[in-house]
């Protein structure tokens, strides 16, 4: 047995949480692929519905890809804290001698890694389905790489706000969508800019700035929301 210290530090508490999440992911590996499968489904159906007009599909590709990724993220959002709220894990998180915001951040990043990261791996396949020109792939991946963690962090706040409710599905979507729109606009916009031969740096930098801001603020806001929800 590894001798964990008497008092957990930020690092050891995070390690315990990461190990737990990876084990749970492995036990329910079928569920873990759902968001990626959902996004693939949306894109495939879209490609089929639009017919075989290459130019039309290529023009719509950035928007379609982003919407598919965003909706699949929304689908997975409810699982972020709900299980931990229902079995009392969140109570023990609050009693842990490390800040709740830190545990929320670790949990959110793990959630991103297990739901959004597999999706990023599928992006080349999806881009090919939609005839997205190859030179745009790096911009697309970079925009998604910056945008999806931002979506996860924003989603964590909304998810924490609704964690006290029994059925939060629709409310969750209604609360999250306004926060998601700017990410969608800048994310899909930067790819569209690059498609027209412009420099996509503006949109990407804004996404990066948003991500940095959310990394600092979102866990604190989500932790506060969790505390309020448990009253």
């Amino acid at each position: 047995m590894n001798g964990s210290p008497a008092m957990p530090t930020l690092g050891s508490a995070a390690r315990a949480l990461v190990r737990r999440d990876l084990r749970l992911l492995w036990r329910r590996r079928g569920d873990a692929l759902q968001p990626a499968l959902f996004a693939i489904l949306v894109v495939v159906l879209f490609a089929l519905a639009m017919g075989s007009e290459r130019e039309l599909l290529a023009r719509a590709a950035p928007g379609v890809l982003w919407v598919a990724v965003l909706l699949s993220g929304l689908l997975a959002l409810d699982t972020l804290f709900r299980g931990d709220a229902e079995d009392g894990s969140l109570e023990q998180w609050r009693l842990a001698p490390v800040p709740l915001a830190w545990l929320v951040l670790v949990r959110t990043l793990m959630h991103w890694l297990t739901t959004a990261a597999p999706l990023l791996l599928a992006v080349p396949l999806l881009a090919e389905l939609l005839y997205l020109p190859r030179p745009l792939w790096p911009v697309m991946l970079l925009a998604l790489g910056l945008g999806t963690p931002l979506l996860s962090l924003l989603g964590a706040v909304v998810s924490a706000l609704t964690v006290g409710m029994r059925r939060a599905g629709v409310l969750l979507a209604l609360l999250a969508l306004p926060l998601y729109v700017p990410v969608l606009v800048f994310g899909a916009g930067s790819v569209a800019q690059a498609a027209q031969g412009h420099d996509p740096a503006g949109g990407l930098l804004l996404l990066g700035a948003g991500l940095l801001l959310a990394l600092v603020l979102a866990p604190v806001a989500a932790a506060t929301a969790i505390r309020i929800a448990a009253q």
Binding site: S4, P8, R15, L17, L24, G83, G88, L95, P97, V98
Partner: protein, 216 residues
């Protein structure tokens, strides 16, 4: 005020603590303290506020009035860290993880005594042989025993036990009493809620009776 020789400051000192939900008083004002080597038995019927009291003391509920100090320091996140271990109605176990994995995760989060192995703790609570059983396959009583193993591993001196006897068979009740006694012998303290149907642990015990908002 009786004092144990090894400590002059009580583990927890509560003065004028009261709590109201939507302007309806739940309990209090209460005055009590728990010293090292002492258990406080909180009794009261259903809805008397026993769970609320423990949740307020653990810091899970805000908005209380009055003064709580732990080891002489005003209760706050810093004062509570590592001093309190809480056993509530929700065990915080993940159904898909095994007993041992659950214990490892909770101890990683909450801290543990380095002197004791996880497997030993499981054996003490009578779960030897169930190390690899998923928590979903355990009975309610076995899950309670798993939570007791977590308490036993906790380095915190003050235990807050909310209905620790619920779901347990007679040997289980005896186990809780034995664990509380051993914990108190090591200089710890405990608050134990019960609705009065079970025998109290045979230790230095004081009684706090909660009765629909009025304390005796």
């Amino acid at each position: 005020m009786p004092q144990t020789p090894n400590a002059t400051v009580p583990l927890i000192d509560v003065r004028g603590l009261s709590f109201a939900r939507d302007d309806r008083p739940v309990f209090g004002p209460l005055h009590f303290h728990v010293e090292r080597g002492e258990a406080l038995l909180v009794q009261g019927g259903n809805g008397a506020g026993k769970t609320t009291l423990l949740r307020v003391l653990a810091g899970l509920l805000d908005g209380e009035r009055g003064h709580v100090s732990l080891d002489g320091a005003p209760a706050g996140p810093a004062a509570r860290a590592g001093r309190l271990a809480y056993l509530g109605h929700l065990p915080g176990l993940k159904a898909d993880l095994s007993a041992l994995e659950n214990l490892e995760y909770l101890c990683g989060l909450l801290g543990r005594r380095p002197s004791l192995e996880l497997e030993e703790a499981l054996a003490i609570v009578g779960l030897a042989g169930y190390e690899d059983a998923a928590a979903r396959t355990l009975s309610a009583g076995q899950r309670k025993r798993l939570s007791l193993a977590r308490m036993w591993l906790s380095p915190a001196p003050l235990w807050l036990l909310d209905e620790p006897y619920a779901n347990l068979d007679l040997p289980g009740i005896e186990l809780v009493n034995r664990m509380v006694r051993a914990h108190l012998d090591e200089g710890g303290g405990a608050l134990v809620t019960t609705h009065g149907a079970y025998a109290a642990p045979p230790v230095r015990t004081r009684l706090l009776e909660l009765d629909d908002g009025a304390a005796a």
